[in-house]
Symmetry: C2
């Protein structure tokens, strides 16, 4: 798009949108605000913004002392904790770029990311040293490792070399640092996406992108210093869905989850209640497990001030309604992607819809991914790129554009498949927009099931499955079929008390909504569903595993 | 400040922060939201964002049809109404610059503003035609006038020539307009400041400034589509304190006050209650009069969701407490200036202060102007420019810097008195910052009273005066005194039922707080206090009027 210059009246240039200012300004007003961080042993570490900012400055001095320069790329391989938070501001504040390393990537992909980004130094949690060691031979450009540990370095056995102790470096550094006045277009961090095919792609976020989204996130969630933000989303995933930065803009208390898996959710749920969390985010599987835990509590917690952003895949109505009924907490259905910095749509009710719709209609509305955050342009287009009407019916690919949406992958040869000439990012997802502006993802393009020339929505079917009292989790995939091209199969994890539920009962339940031809011929009861490194259902794995289930006959 | 370039990874440039996108995005999600506008006859005009946006596009086409081009300066001389709102977006959206004309300026100043800005066209309310006519002979570059009127042009007698009808122009224009993709540094609007001396100075706000502040305002006030914004602040004053733009970002309902003076406040207070206003702003005098009106109501309105931003001068505790006691509504003490786009500090209580302070201490805290909005840099400095500590005691000049703070006046020869070399705006106000970051304006520099080498705070004394039940309004000024250099005098407007209050009673009341030497020797009971065009107490006028009160003896 050609930029038109009007009357330009600011010859001195603009004050740059540097992310370190988010923290500097938080310190000015909210230095006493608390930060809580769950340690490996389950205890909670507590300090204040003021303490944290002093350590950020120590970190910046320490990085400089070991030769880190403006523009250098520094990898971070860490869980959600207060040191990671210090890195989030202290590292990009120096002008270096934080390369967030997804610790669940394959060795091959992880090496690719480190090499492609020219990462020269890696900050790594002690318990993730084996991950760092695994890439040693394939990543020769990495010149050192900073280890986050409470131990003395001499107690640590590792092939990594040279190594520094994060805590020792900070201890020896001054807590005063003169932050450079960075061009707002300087990269703040990179997050590499791992699509279904090909190499990971580099999504680099500038300081400007992050700064803008932090304020927008605060505005969209009406966040203030009275809020308590629970950082559950891995901080190596889309810079933690921007929550740490928005929390800092708002001056909110922050709670970091520490290292966790689904097995730790009982402990995390208790922390959420005790620390009076009001804002968090996660994928449906996490909140579903939390709801199960809450259901078993004798005294149900009051979460009536709590807003849980739920994205990655569609949260079932049963989950949202369950949370509401049990705790008064609201699950906000959301949609996003790495290239769009996670928060693209949010499902809030408009005042007139609250007046006009029945309670059931409102619950139904929550199935949609929500309205587009103001600031972003959105289009749904057909295969020829023609814009489709916002009628709630016409489904097309979702294109996004705006002040914090990627316009190209880093050092990537060709991007025409992913970006339009007028600056839109092509999401690869299909959706409808209704006249009120609510987006509905009709299908993640690869999740649609084509059976005998007709379409079956796997998402709709999963929602109905989840509404059965015995179903804890469910996935529906399409697998090749000799006669019908594709047929659905359902993979179900049953609740403990419902292990006797059988295929007939599920068929009967689905029949209330689906036509007979749509019903999955196979319903498999399994112990857990395969998930990607970021917690989404991994349908690629499922499709591969069950691809011969019909053709074998 | 030298800008440091980090790793630049956005070769395609940034998506520009154009203000028209605020409206485009509001339309996408909130097209049904209501806009209410008080007409001259007192009736309320109602339409929706959707209707308004269609007319904005008609306006843009109309302006082009009469030759308006990108970069042209268009004056606006109008009250607060829906057409003015259409102009707020439709005019700068084309790339032209909106020159907001303060209709209370002297003829001389108004002509200066129009000539200095190269205004070529003026949009004027029918009832303000005499104001426009008055500058005809001194502003030869103005080539036409668009009249906002419901009448046919033939019914209007005026010397203005050529004239267009706003409504006729829109009627003949298409409601579809392709907005140019403007450089975000293009000027959106100008607001000229009128200081105590010299010519008005041109403060030009870029699209970027306005866009950023709209989101920040929304975030700071936790504004959503559930809010109802009452535009009381004149839209020719610091672009209405950014409320119309923030309302649009949040998708809030907006109510425009129409033409009003203090005499209309009973009607406006009723509108505020009926339309369920939750956000508004104004100077203390306005809210003081509103409180008087509410006090006389048989049934007190419930304004417990209402936040009233109060700035321009310090709102007395009695006002803030009165509003709270009578209605549950909160007055948010604020500080700002034209150069800083009005909202610089806001007084919200931090969560820990709510826990630690007594109720009385919290009320006392509300005397302060609040904490600095995140995004802005602030310093208090002594006369040599040395930064002073944030101890709540050291008072110095307030310097401000940030992404939406002016860095220079438009086409002004020298600005060293107003701006520092490192980009700070010198506010001319003195204040302290406490360790929690709350700013307290110690004295508008010209309001301090120096008596016998000691200082008397006029603001403190005004606050105590106002706390007397019989005092409706009060001003304290310093006037020359042959012996003591300066001595205070108090000007008081009494409430109707308290006309018998005398000087002794006031002295007794002040003596509870002030030393005997500090008491004003003269206490004058008058019918109203002189105010500036924007409603601030006009101490310049008062000082001039009473300058001989002591020296005459």
């Amino acid at each position: 798009m050609k930029i038109v210059e009007g009357l330009l009246t600011n010859p001195k240039g603009n004050y740059q949108l540097n992310t370190i200012n988010l923290m500097k300004h938080a310190i000015r007003n909210f230095s006493r605000q608390e930060i809580v961080s769950r340690k490996i042993d389950g205890s909670l570490f507590r300090y204040t913004y003021k303490d944290s900012y002093a350590r950020m400055q120590q970190l910046a001095n320490a990085l400089e002392s070991i030769g880190v320069k403006v523009g250098d790329r520094i990898g971070v391989l860490a869980w959600n904790h207060y040191q990671h938070f210090e890195i989030y501001f202290g590292l990009p504040g120096t002008g270096a770029v934080m390369i967030t390393l997804n610790l669940r990537l394959s060795l091959q992909d992880l090496s690719y990311v480190i090499n492609h980004s020219n990462t020269s130094l890696i900050i790594v949690d002690e318990d993730l040293i084996p991950v760092a060691e695994s890439i040693l031979s394939s990543c020769k450009k990495v010149k050192g490792f900073i280890i986050i540990t409470e131990k003395d370095l001499s107690e640590i056995e590792t092939k990594l070399d040279p190594i520094y102790s994060y805590e020792e470096l900070l201890k020896n550094a001054s807590p005063h640092y003169e932050w450079p006045y960075l061009d707002e277009n300087s990269a703040y961090a990179a997050c590499y996406t791992t699509g279904t095919t090909g190499k990971p792609k580099g999504v680099y976020y500038s300081h400007r992108y992050v700064y803008l989204q932090s304020i927008v996130f605060t505005a969209q969630f009406s966040m203030t210093a009275n809020d308590v933000v629970f950082q559950l989303v891995p901080m190596f995933h889309v810079i933690g869905w921007s929550k740490p930065q928005a929390a800092v803009y708002a001056g909110s208390k922050i709670v970091f989850s520490g290292r966790w898996t689904l097995d730790d959710l009982e402990e995390l749920t208790n922390i959420m209640v005790q620390e009076e969390v009001t804002v968090s985010g996660g994928v449906p599987a996490v909140f579903m497990a939390m709801l199960e835990i809450i259901r078993k509590m004798d005294q149900k917690p009051d979460l009536s001030s709590t807003r849980l952003i739920c994205g990655g895949s569609e949260p079932p109505i049963a989950l949202m309604r369950g949370f509401w009924d049990e705790t008064g907490g609201e699950i906000i259905h959301s949609y996003g992607s790495t290239e769009a910095m996670a928060i693209t749509t949010l499902n809030f009710f408009k005042p007139w819809l609250k007046r006009e719709l029945t309670e059931e209609e409102l619950w139904d509305l929550k199935k949609k991914q929500g309205t587009i955050v103001s600031g972003l342009d959105i289009k749904i287009v057909d295969k020829e790129g023609n814009e489709l009407p916002h009628d709630g019916k016409s489904s097309g690919e979702i294109l996004l554009r705006g002040p914090w949406i990627l316009t190209g992958y880093h050092n990537a040869p060709t991007t025409k498949d992913s970006f339009t000439e007028d600056g839109y990012f092509k999401s690869g997802d299909a959706g409808t927009l209704d006249p009120e502006g609510y987006l509905k993802i009709t299908d993640r393009i690869k999740d649609v099931i084509k059976s005998g020339g007709e379409w079956i929505s796997s998402i709709d079917m999963e929602n109905v499955l989840i509404s059965h009292p015995g179903v804890l989790e469910a996935a529906v995939i399409g697998v090749p079929h000799p006669k019908w091209d594709e047929r659905p199969i359902a993979l179900i994890v049953l609740r403990e008390d419902y292990k006797s539920v059988n295929q007939n009962e599920i068929h009967e339940h689905l029949s209330k909504v689906f036509a007979k031809w749509q019903l999955p011929d196979e319903i498999l009861f399994i112990n857990s569903l395969p998930r990607t490194s970021v917690g989404k259902l991994d349908k690629k794995v499922m499709r591969n595993k069950y691809k011969n289930i019909y053709s074998k006959d």
